[in-house]
């Protein structure tokens, strides 16, 4: 599904990622943890295709395609979707417009017809219900005036409608209270299937109690210093990152 090989990236001339290797197979849920400044958000940004990040070495392959050669919108159409840490407010653009144009763009890329309106509405209403969101939400502007929790739920709603092959969730738990965390996790867990993968990037272990990962990776100073199962996340939660730092330095 996703294969990252020896990835190096710089931001404004400073090397942040210093050789990342990561393989995610279909059906797997991976979590990347790490202290502040380890390169988590740089990795997310490179995957999302944000400007200002220069890949100086290495490759990223998504479903056999060279991801770094793909435009932002083409990544999404090919099935890689990013749930953002800070979803942008877009005044005046209704949620329904976003969902509809995004879904049709994806269908067009697959050579399919535009979705008929009744079918679209049925799909969206079903997903709204699942995320415990009111239909009036569709006529509201994207994220405008939304609380932190509403914004995150909206990110997941978009995932449920667009059904990505690989969902990247960047600090999806930040700013969520326990109820919102449950709703968001419920949404993410519903995406789990044997041919879909999920990559969680998170500072805290807490979300991993709700979305159980198959593999956990600890990112330190631009490299994956350690990989393991969910026990690794628990140990990080208890002991912090220092021991990994020492072991990898030794």
């Amino acid at each position: 599904m996703l294969e990252i090989r020896d990835l190096h990236a710089t931001v404004e001339g400073t090397e942040i990622l210093k050789g990342i290797n990561l393989t995610i197979n279909p059906g797997e849920v991976h979590a990347i943890m790490g202290p502040n400044g380890a390169g988590k958000s740089t990795l997310s940004s490179v995957l999302a295709g944000r400007d200002g990040y220069e890949v100086t070495q290495g490759t990223i392959t998504f479903e056999g395609q060279d991801l770094l050669e793909m435009e932002v919108e083409d990544r999404a159409r090919a099935g890689m979707l990013m749930g953002f840490q800070y979803p942008v407010e877009i005044p005046g653009v209704k949620n329904i417009y976003l969902l509809k144009s995004a879904l049709n763009a994806q269908r067009e890329a697959r050579g399919e017809e535009e979705i008929p309106s009744p079918e679209f509405m049925k799909l969206v209403k079903e997903k709204l219900e699942f995320m415990r969101m009111d239909t009036s939400f569709l006529q509201r502007a994207v994220n405008e005036g939304f609380s932190g929790g509403e914004k995150k739920r909206n990110e997941i709603l978009q995932m449920l409608v667009l059904q990505p092959k690989l969902a990247l969730l960047d600090e999806i738990d930040s700013g969520l209270d326990i109820d919102a965390m449950k709703t968001v996790s419920h949404g993410v867990n519903s995406l789990r299937s044997e041919n879909r993968s999920i990559l969680l990037v998170t500072h805290y272990q807490r979300i991993l109690n709700h979305i159980e990962p198959d593999q956990v990776h600890v990112l330190i100073d631009g490299r994956i210093a350690r990989s393991g199962d969910k026990q690794l996340a628990l140990r990080v939660e208890d002991e912090g990152y220092e021991w990994i730092h020492q072991e990898s330095a030794a």
């Binding site: 999302a48 295709g49 944000r50 400007d51 435009e71 932002v72 919108e73 990544r75 999404a76 159409r77 979707l81 990013m82 953002f84 979803p87 942008v88 877009i90 005044p91 005046g92 653009v93 209704k94 329904i96 417009y97 976003l98 509809k100 144009s101 995004a102 049709n104 763009a105 994806q106 890329a109 535009e114 309106s117 679209f120 509405m121 239909t135 569709l138 006529q139 502007a141 994207v142 978009q158 667009l162």
Partner: protein
């Protein structure tokens, strides 16, 4: 070229039985027009808008108001629950109009009919707010004053349904001119909405020259929606003069999507405490359209309020002009006046000239004004692209969103949907928005 060319048709309009006061007002307005001549770009108020194309054209007056029902149905808004008046090239069409039942104390009539009825309100109101020399176009309108809309609201009269006045401009053998006159007289505590809809048949190249006067007594409330959808060959000039007494509200929604050359003037006089003017505007120009909005709010009394927001979207080689003046008279304390003009340029060759003017002679006031000409928010574009939406469609959605911020002020869905679809449909094809907007009804 000469003003005489325009006045030569005047004889045709001097119909039998016009009241003497009107004949004399027309006469002196014709003289004023001849004296002023067409404005030149040397005049400050016309610096960016060259009307020589109008001055050099020849226009006749329409002689009939023929229009098929199907044609009208295709053009008009689906506002069925309204007091409807239809004008074709400036002439009233009784056939297509349906004024319907009116509550006591309310008069809604075509001006020609009101003149025949000898309505007294006409004599006291027509020309009261324009004066003689506001502009040559206003004078020209008065010289031809004959047809238009009279909306007279008696004390505490409330008109629940809007008055929907449709002005259709036809494609014809020769270009015609029309001079619709709107008279709104709202007595104390009355309330009404007027939809003024200008729409042109494809390639109609006529000259529509509108003048409106609205007098609002204490606590009167008038909402005036103007939707200008003339063809891209049409000349459209208008001035709207508003006079407000205590606790009154006048809200203008000035939506300009059409026209080759468009000039709108709005002038509001806030004459007593707690009178409020709201000016909302949207102008959307493509190709070589030229759209000029001049607004003026005169705070002549303490504790009067104004709020103004105009948004412009210009593509192709379109040109927009915004000039917004807020004047606060000496000792008009505790006034609040807000004004903003924001513009979006979709092409390198589109142009906007914007000039906010604040003139304040009182010391205890709260005013702000601002003008921005901007690009679209790159973060928002990225966020949309990250969902698979193409760069161009993302730009289209955000352009439409820019207009939506004014549309949100309008409670009439028939108007907002029409504007949204028109804007979406007229944006360059590359934005590819129609499929999205058409399915907006959830």
């Amino acid at each position: 070229m000469s003003t005489e060319t325009f006045l030569q048709h005047l004889q045709e309009r001097v119909e039998q039985g016009a009241p003497e006061w009107l004949t004399s007002r027309r006469q002196s307005a014709a003289e004023s027009f001849a004296r002023q001549g067409f404005p030149s770009p040397r005049q400050e108020a016309w610096k960016y808008t060259d009307v020589s194309r109008i001055a050099e054209s020849r226009f006749t007056l329409a002689s009939d108001a023929a229009l098929s029902e199907a044609r009208l149905a295709a053009l008009r808004l689906q506002v069925d629950d309204a007091h409807r008046l239809v004008f074709v090239d400036g002439l009233f069409s009784a056939e297509h109009s349906d004024i319907g039942e009116l509550p006591a104390g309310v008069v809604v009539e075509p001006l020609s009919q009101a003149l025949m009825q000898g309505r007294e309100v006409l004599g006291s109101q027509l020309g009261r707010l324009t004066g003689e020399d506001f502009s040559p176009f206003a004078a020209l309108n008065t010289a031809f004053a004959h047809e238009g809309v009279l909306l007279h609201l008696g004390r505490n009269a409330v008109l629940e349904k809007p008055v929907y006045a449709i002005f259709v401009s036809r494609t014809g053998e020769s270009a015609v001119m029309s001079h619709p006159r709107l008279l709104i007289r709202a007595e104390q505590g009355s309330e009404a909405s007027l939809i003024e809809h200008h729409i042109g048949e494809h390639e109609a190249a006529n000259f529509t020259n509108v003048v409106g006067e609205a007098s609002l007594d204490a606590n009167a409330r008038v909402r005036h929606y103007k939707l200008q959808e003339a063809s891209q060959s049409e000349y459209h000039v208008s001035s709207m003069h508003i006079d407000q007494q205590r606790d009154s509200l006048y809200a203008s929604y000035n939506l300009n999507l059409g026209g080759a050359l468009v000039r709108n003037d709005l002038i509001s006089e806030l004459n007593d405490e707690n009178a409020t003017t709201e000016f909302w505007g949207l102008f959307f120009g493509q190709e070589r359209q030229h759209i000029d909005n001049h607004t003026q709010v005169n705070h002549n009394a303490p504790r009067t309020y104004s709020n103004e927001s105009y948004k412009g979207i210009l593509g192709g080689r379109a040109r927009g002009v915004f000039n917004g003046r807020v004047y606060i008279k000496r000792d008009a304390q505790q006034v609040r006046g807000y004004q903003n003009n924001a513009n979006l340029l979709l092409s390198d060759r589109a142009e906007i000239d914007t000039k906010p003017e604040l003139e304040i002679y009182a010391d205890d006031v709260l005013c702000s004004h601002g003008a921005t000409t901007g690009q679209l928010d790159e973060n928002a574009i990225f966020a949309l692209r990250a969902r698979g939406i193409s760069q161009e469609m993302a730009r289209g959605l955000l352009t439409l969103a820019f207009a939506t911020e004014v549309m949100e002020q309008i409670p009439l869905a028939e108007i907002t949907e029409r504007v949204e679809r028109t804007v979406a449909g007229k944006l360059p094809d590359r934005f590819n928005l129609m499929g999205v907007v058409e399915d907006s009804d959830a």
